[in-house]
């Protein structure tokens, strides 16, 4: 079948039915005349046959005319060398592998440099009139030259200035983006996508990527546009199948928000491939881009799934945004290497991991106490409240510099603006966490304020108790799973007069990060808590965002969590005070539990500092100041001067992985776009892997540029035929006019 540049136009072939339809319509819409001279209407058989032939001929001619016109518009072409009289122009999209595996130097200069050199020579061989677009395949496709250009010098410059490899690559999306560019911008039948990669298996034919190829193949099946030829060049064919490599596993911290001068633990691991573990030459810790100290790598550790995990602690002396970086140097510098030294690592791009952490002087927490009884004149000293337990646990009065700035307000004094104003005298102490302790119900204003607070990234801890009105909670706050309350309240259960039948937290259910400390059953630990009475709740079930994150021994939920808008909500089904004769506040685990819960809830906003590629970078100043100029330093290239017109300020160009440093009003905020750690696996594609992909999305693997150039010329020479079809249309039009006039003259 004849291929077409714009096969969608073939739908116009339906227009060929117009002449017969018009004929039939004319036959259906006729006049009726009572006629006497019938004998003169009787025509001879010869004449009748002649008229019919004329009519059929004319109709067929008109139909053919429409068909040829539609075919001309659909852009027919023929493929094959014999049809080309000269070297035809082509539209090319070059896709460079932008993942950090392209930084591999085991076989000479880095694959990235080799790819640039290959591409420059390829561009030199292109003809005047050819167009080139340049993409970099990363976790998000980076359009270096998003539109095909004839200016080959511009292409060369773009290739020379390609950003250094970093992060991973999403090949199916990159190919899809290239196809989109060609489909929208190219009018030529000669369309080529040249993939310049290092032949790595991961991101090409691993299971996740294969899903992407399947989806792309499905799209291709539905599209009838001219399919560009896809050529895959392995720029580093000499690379061993599984070269040795060292890499760092992404850093994680116990808390997303750290307290000033408080020790915080970071966990990471060294990952090794193709070799046994020997301590690296150096393991460096940097904070805010400054070398802090060398970490002591584990010695003689055994690999666990190819990894050597380790942790380190650090205290931040100043509040604000901080960057923690861990860099491994497996090999000594070249001048310090002994003769015959075998290099352990040829891929430096994965030897560093960054993590952004937020440090606060004291975490502002607003505790709302549900005891709404009016203070009587006979009360001479402040009434003891349930929230006092939490207050003492979070900010003990004898602690001169507590890590939590807590304030208690009775429910009747809880005003919406308390959530948007500083708790203390210091600026930047707006509540990060709200605790609703045994609150019967909220007013409408309070309800709306809590929803706004969550939308701003706040955390809410709801503790249940005697006063809680289940009907109100279910109808107004839970709303069958539509509200922010994670679970539906059923009824209070247990009997506080029977402490022997009390339930305890189930330690084996503690997988939540806030409960990391309590996994081990220790004396005085969380699992030693007794709850003679508790609330039975039901969660919406599978598919819901709300999940029980800790259970009681009765298998009822102890804690239910739900992310809501930009914030987090935790629901405790037991009171976090001394009511119902629980022993929880007396346990040594209670203060750490209170701290862990509020710090976890405060981390909703901080999580936005460690992003995935393409995720929006959102900056919200902790200390209020007018929107204005900002300076953003991306991972590569020069700093960008930006202007915020309002808070929060959103920045969307986060394709590159690495550290983004944003400065505003003299404060620095760090954001880390996390690279794909699996890119460190340098296992090469096998022929089977390549075939698997090319079976789904037709492509040819060709490593030699000269052979590729020849194959390009031989296989994709196409001759456009629209001009011939157009001439045919004009010819048919002339014949139609002639025939019509002749018939009309005969009548």
């Amino acid at each position: 079948m004849l291929p077409f540049l714009a096969p969608l136009m073939l739908a116009g072939l339906a227009a060929a039915a117009i002449p017969p339809i018009v004929h039939l319509l004319n036959r259906r819409r006729f006049d009726v005349v009572d006629w006497g001279a019938m004998q003169f209407l009787q025509i001879s058989e010869t004449t009748r046959r002649r008229l019919m032939i004329e009519e059929v001929l004319l109709m067929a001619l008109r139909m053919f005319l429409i068909i040829v016109m539609v075919l001309a518009l659909a852009g027919p072409f023929l493929e094959g060398f014999v049809f080309s009289k000269a070297k035809a122009n082509r539209d090319v999209v070059l896709i460079f592998d932008g993942s950090y595996s392209m930084g591999y130097t085991g076989t000479g200069p880095s694959s990235h440099e080799a790819a640039k050199e290959w591409a420059l020579e390829f561009v030199n061989e292109l003809s005047a009139g050819d167009t080139v677009a340049v993409l970099v395949a990363r976790q998000q496709v980076d359009p270096i030259l998003g539109e095909p250009t004839h200016d080959l010098e511009r292409v060369r410059t773009a290739i020379q200035k390609l950003p250094d490899p970093a992060g991973g690559a999403d090949w199916p999306r990159a190919i899809e983006a290239a196809r989109d560019i060609l489909a929208k911008k190219s009018q030529r039948p000669q369309r080529d996508i040249i993939v310049i990669s290092d032949g790595q298996r991961y991101t090409w034919s691993d299971d996740t990527t294969m899903l992407g190829w399947h989806m792309l193949a499905n799209q291709l099946r539905d599209q009838r546009a001219v399919q560009p030829a896809i050529w895959v060049v392995n720029i580093d064919p000499q690379r061993p199948d599984n070269p040795p490599n060292w890499s760092m596993v992404p850093v994680r911290s116990s808390r997303a928000v750290a307290g000033k001068d408080r020790e915080i633990t970071f966990r990471t691991a060294l990952e090794l491939r193709g070799q046994e573990y020997k301590p690296p030459y150096k393991l460096r810790l940097e904070v805010d881009g400054q070398k802090l100290r060398d970490l002591t790598p584990p010695s003689n550790a055994k690999l666990e799934k190819g990894q050597v995990p380790f942790s380190f602690t650090h205290k931040f002396a100043t509040p604000g945004s901080h960057l923690v970086s861990v860099i491994v140097e497996p090999d000594p510098p070249q001048d310090q290497r002994p003769p015959g030294y075998v290099i352990k690592d040829h891929l430096p791009g994965d030897n560093r991991q960054d993590f952004a952490v937020e440090v606060v002087a004291a975490l502002p927490v607003l505790l709302v106490d549900g005891d709404a009884r009016p203070v009587s004149p006979s009360e001479t000293k402040p009434r003891e409240r349930g929230t006092d337990f939490l207050l003492k646990a979070l900010a003990p009065s004898r602690d001169p510099s507590p890590v939590v700035l807590a304030k208690v307000v009775p429910i009747q004094d809880f005003k919406p603006d308390q959530l948007t104003h500083d708790l203390g005298k210091e600026p930047g102490t707006k509540p990060r966490v709200l605790v609703l302790s045994n609150v019967a119900r909220l007013t409408n204003d309070q309800e709306e304020a809590v929803a706004r607070f969550l939308n701003d990234g706040g955390g809410v801890l709801v503790t249940l108790g005697e006063r809680v009105e289940p009907k109100y909670y279910n109808e107004q706050l839970h709303r069958s799973g539509q509200g922010w309350l994670p679970a539906r309240l059923e009824d209070m259960t247990g009997d506080e007069s029977e402490p022997t039948r009390a339930v305890s937290p189930l330690a084996s259910s503690f997988f939540h990060p806030a409960l990391d400390l309590f996994r081990e059953e220790t004396f005085g630990g969380l699992s030693a808590a007794r709850f003679p009475r508790w609330w039975k709740v039901t969660t919406p079930g599978r598919g819901s965002a709300a999940l029980p994150v800790a259970l009681l021994t009765s298998n009822d939920p102890l804690l239910v969590e739900r992310p809501f808008l930009n914030g987090r909500v935790l629901l405790a089904t037991v009171p976090l005070d001394g009511s119902w004769r629980t022993n929880l506040p007396t346990l040594p685990a209670f203060p750490p539990l209170a701290h862990e819960l509020v710090y976890y809830l405060a981390g909703a906003r901080s999580a936005r500092h460690n992003l995935q590629p393409g995720q929006v970078l959102r900056y919200q100043p902790t200390v209020e100041h007018a929107p204005g100029p900002l300076v953003l330093q991306p991972p590569q290239g020069e700093a960008k001067k930006l202007t915020a017109e309002q808070w929060p300020f959103d920045y969307r160009e986060t394709r590159e992985t690495g550290v983004y440093r944003l400065e505003s009003d003299g404060r620095t905020s760090y954001y880390v776009v996390q690279p794909d750690a699996r890119e460190s696996s340098l296992v090469s594609c096998t022929q089977e892997d390549r075939d698997k992909v090319s079976k789904l999305v037709p492509m040819r693997y060709e490593n030699e540029r000269s052979e590729l150039a020849l194959a390009l010329v031989q296989s994709t020479q196409r001759q456009e035929l629209w001009l011939w079809f157009l001439i045919g249309v004009i010819g048919l039009l002339c014949v139609e006019v002639f025939l019509t006039r002749r018939i009309a003259l005969n009548r």
Partner: protein, 298 residues
């Protein structure tokens, strides 16, 4: 009242007064335009006086007038006719065709009525035959003035319908019209030409003078239809033909013109006065033709 019927108010006439009124209007209007009637002769009925000129027969001088005026005047009398005319009106279905003008049958009615009026006015005997394939009405020729009412009544009560096959009928009528006279045929002649010609020849064989008014509608001549059209036969029920008239026009006109040409030629050879009458032409044209013919007869 039918749409195409004559529009004069008939109240002053009898109930058959429509055709009568029309005929009188047409004929008198026609005669008013003639300054000197060439049809006056010396018959039993006085017509008028005129001055004597040498060469006039003396016996025609009115001596009474001479006695009164002392001048010679000649008495002129209307000629007593011995003409018997038969008007044959085709009332077949095809005559019912109505295009942009009145139907062919109505046109034939007007001509027949006008001729009857005129002929009776001139004391010619007029008879009438209306027919399709069969004779519907036959009225023998008479000269009485009351005869006109009968003729008009018959004309007016006739509706077109039925098939046309005139040849056998005309043969039959030619046999019935014993005495030599004039046969005036008002028909569209939509029949097989050879049979038609044979029938006309039969009239001529009987030494009748034949005046053939071939009545056609302009649409039948010009065939002006453009859109696809279903032609329903006026004579044969359920006979329909769906055609593209633009395709057929040339062929139709060729057929029609050939028919008219042959008819004219054949009638010419038989010394039959053939006149193609279009329904968009004035009826009095037929009267002129008749009078010319009548004069030639004298």
């Amino acid at each position: 009242m039918p749409a195409n019927s004559f529009q004069f108010d008939p109240t002053s006439l009898s109930k058959y007064g429509r055709l009568s009124m029309m005929a009188r209007t047409v004929v008198e209007g026609f005669l008013t335009g003639i300054h000197k009637s060439p049809y006056k002769g010396f018959s039993v009925e006085f017509a008028e006086h005129r001055q004597y000129y040498p060469g006039d027969e003396i016996r025609h001088i009115d001596w009474r007038v001479y006695g009164k005026t002392g001048r010679y005047y000649i008495k002129e009398y209307e000629e007593e006719t011995n003409l018997k005319a038969h008007i044959l009106v085709d009332a077949s279905g095809s005559m019912g065709y109505t295009g942009a003008h009145i139907s062919k049958f109505q046109y034939a009615q007007y001509i027949a009525a006008s001729l009857s009026y005129l002929m009776l006015h001139q004391l010619d005997a007029v008879g009438l035959v209306t027919h399709d394939t069969k004779v519907r009405n036959i009225i023998p020729p008479k000269t009485s003035s009351k005869h006109l009412l009968r003729l008009l009544h018959t004309l007016e009560s006739t509706q077109p319908g039925g098939e046309t096959s005139m040849a056998p009928l005309w043969h039959e009528l030619a046999g019935q019209f014993k005495r030599r006279g004039m046969v005036i045929i008002l028909s569209d002649c939509f029949d097989q030409l050879p049979g038609l010609v044979r029938a006309l020849r039969h009239f001529r064989f009987r030494r009748h003078e034949v005046l053939l008014f071939h009545i056609v509608a302009p649409e039948e001549i010009d065939f002006p239809f453009k859109k696809w059209t279903q032609f329903r036969n006026l004579e044969v029920r359920d006979h329909k033909l769906l055609v593209d008239p633009q395709q057929l026009r040339k062929e139709y006109k060729k057929n029609f013109d050939a028919f008219c040409k042959q008819l004219r030629e054949q009638t010419g050879r038989m010394q039959i006065d053939y006149h193609l009458m279009r329904t968009d032409e004035p009826v009095d044209k037929a009267l002129g033709i008749y009078l010319t013919k009548r004069q030639g007869r004298r």
